[in-house]
Symmetry: C2
Subunit: 332 residues, 2 copies
């Protein structure tokens, strides 16, 4: 990294992905060997085959941690994203969108190797999403791509679980975590997906004792702990200072300093596409956290951010979350 | 054209465009010298400059006549689209989406010349759209790209006004109109845009006596006739068998065989983005027409299709219009 970059409160690290979202019949995932509601990794040939079968789509920048950074910026927070695109059309779209969202993004695009990552998302009539991801350039984030100084200055470095257990980004992740802790910041991990938690259990477990803040949904935390929800909460709270569990329409649970609180979901007018709900929940929670909100207030802001993103196709906010949060009286 | 193509009821002809839709503050169009609600043609350099200023966006296949074909297919009609993309990523997206919508699309992509056309659309908080279009490959539709046999077999050949008054596609348009009339089909024209009507008044006027069905909004028909609405209706009805005028929330007016009827707009739950409203109105109307519905029934179907598309970002239906029309009791 040459020039010094502006410091930010939160650095998020993950796959740089452009989503291809298609309203789809309930049975399309099964017809392609996928379980509804899950994420499957696919190669380029399979991606082409699946795209052929997919209905008319909308393209929208995505990537779990990138969505979280966009959500933070929409709330008025300062965030940077670290993830890799290729120097191609989708890479250009990804770069435009994340910068236009107000997120600092300075990772150089790859000029060799695979194309920018994409995720084909079948959105069922009940708003559930089934994802087939071709990671492409996204998986090739190297240590040299990580701005250690920015990680050192951040209050939180947030990692999406999808980056854990892959060979290429391991050094990048280690560098980011180390820099964060050196600077006195907190390291946050999102578990991303129950399938991924099972697939990469050892790598996630090895990382866990360094995790200060853990995000996951019910399926992910129970898979991670190999226990029921209560067992998972106590096991994970033993290892991480703060454990945050999302439960869809049932709201969320926060375990902080020995205290467990439950917070209702924010009412959603109409639910179109749940893609990005967890990412935006994390955005709202982190915004509260870095601004010293109480855990319950963090969770309320989180729920509001999640409610916005499930109201339309696509995993990034389409309206100002700051304005919505102010209207709802959730900002200090 | 080598192999014979399946015959369709409606052929639509226009620019193949991928829309880049960005929720934008009210004053962004003016800051870039554009009038809110209008369309401006821009070159590649200006497109890059404007994209830089644009907020986070969603990409969705567009193009006025292509949207109409997608709407027809969503209602269960058979449609083909003729328009030109380049052999690039946006061209691939456009081709996927129109075929996945069930529209026949067999125009070969260009391998030389400009990139696939794109339209940057600033969507204001009041759902109004301001468009900056880089036509790219879209403007380069040649006579050899037009399947005369398909036009001859169609009940309706529908042209977007944006194709009129450009040098390159003039021969393609003439071939399509001639083939349509030779086969006993009706030729429909959409006026597209009041700015375009003023810019290309002579070319549109020269075409008008061959037009059987004319679509336009209030601003477009008054610009075309150089008269107020009543004057425009009588002047245009003298020259075209069927004149259909859309008036946004005020509904629409149909003049057919000396009779004028007014139809209310379909109630819309929430209005997010009016892009594509006119295109989908035309889709619903044409679906009724080719199935021998009464003019008032055509207009009701048209209004329902328009109401769907203004409920989300993007100019193509995201739900089945056929199912919605059946639920509303509008299908025979």
């Amino acid at each position: 990294m040459d020039a010094p970059h502006r410091p930010v409160d939160v650095v998020t690290i993950g796959h740089a992905i452009v989503d291809v979202l298609a309203p789809s019949p309930d049975d399309l995932p099964a017809a392609y060997g996928m379980d509804k509601g899950t994420m499957t990794l696919i190669d380029e040939a399979r991606a082409a085959e699946l795209y052929e079968a997919l209905g008319p789509a909308v393209e929208s920048s995505g990537g779990s941690a990138a969505n979280t950074a966009a959500g933070l910026a929409s709330l008025g927070g300062s965030a940077a994203f670290m993830g890799k695109v290729h120097d191609d059309k989708l890479g250009e779209i990804f770069t435009h969108d994340i910068r236009a969202a107000g997120v600092a993004y300075d990772v150089a695009p790859a000029t060799v190797g695979p194309a920018t990552g994409m995720c084909m998302i079948m959105v069922s009539p009940d708003a559930e999403r089934t994802m087939a991801t071709h990671l492409g350039a996204g998986a090739l984030l190297y240590a040299e791509d990580v701005d250690a100084e920015r990680c050192r200055q951040a209050k939180v470095v947030y990692l999406e679980g999808y980056m854990v257990g892959l060979d290429a980004p391991a050094a990048a992740v280690a560098k980011a975590v180390q820099s964060c802790h050196l600077g006195g910041g907190r390291f946050a991990l999102s578990l991303s997906d129950p399938y991924w938690v099972n697939l990469k259990a050892a790598a996630l477990d090895a990382l866990l004792d360094g995790v200060d803040i853990l995000f996951g949904n019910e399926d992910e935390v129970t898979a991670m702990a190999g226990a029921d929800l209560d067992g998972a909460l106590s096991e994970l709270a033993r290892r991480c200072d703060l454990v945050v569990v999302t439960r869809g329409a049932k709201g969320s649970i926060v375990v902080a300093e020995g205290t467990t609180i439950e917070v209702d979901a924010h009412p959603a007018d109409h639910v179109i596409d749940t893609t990005g709900a967890g990412d935006l929940y994390a955005a709202g929670f982190l915004y509260g956290l870095i601004n010293d909100y109480k855990p319950s207030e963090c969770a309320e802001l989180a729920s509001l951010a999640a409610a916005e993103v499930i109201g339309h196709l696509g995993a990034r906010p389409q309206t100002s979350l700051r304005a919505a949060a102010a209207t709802a009286g959730l900002l200090h």
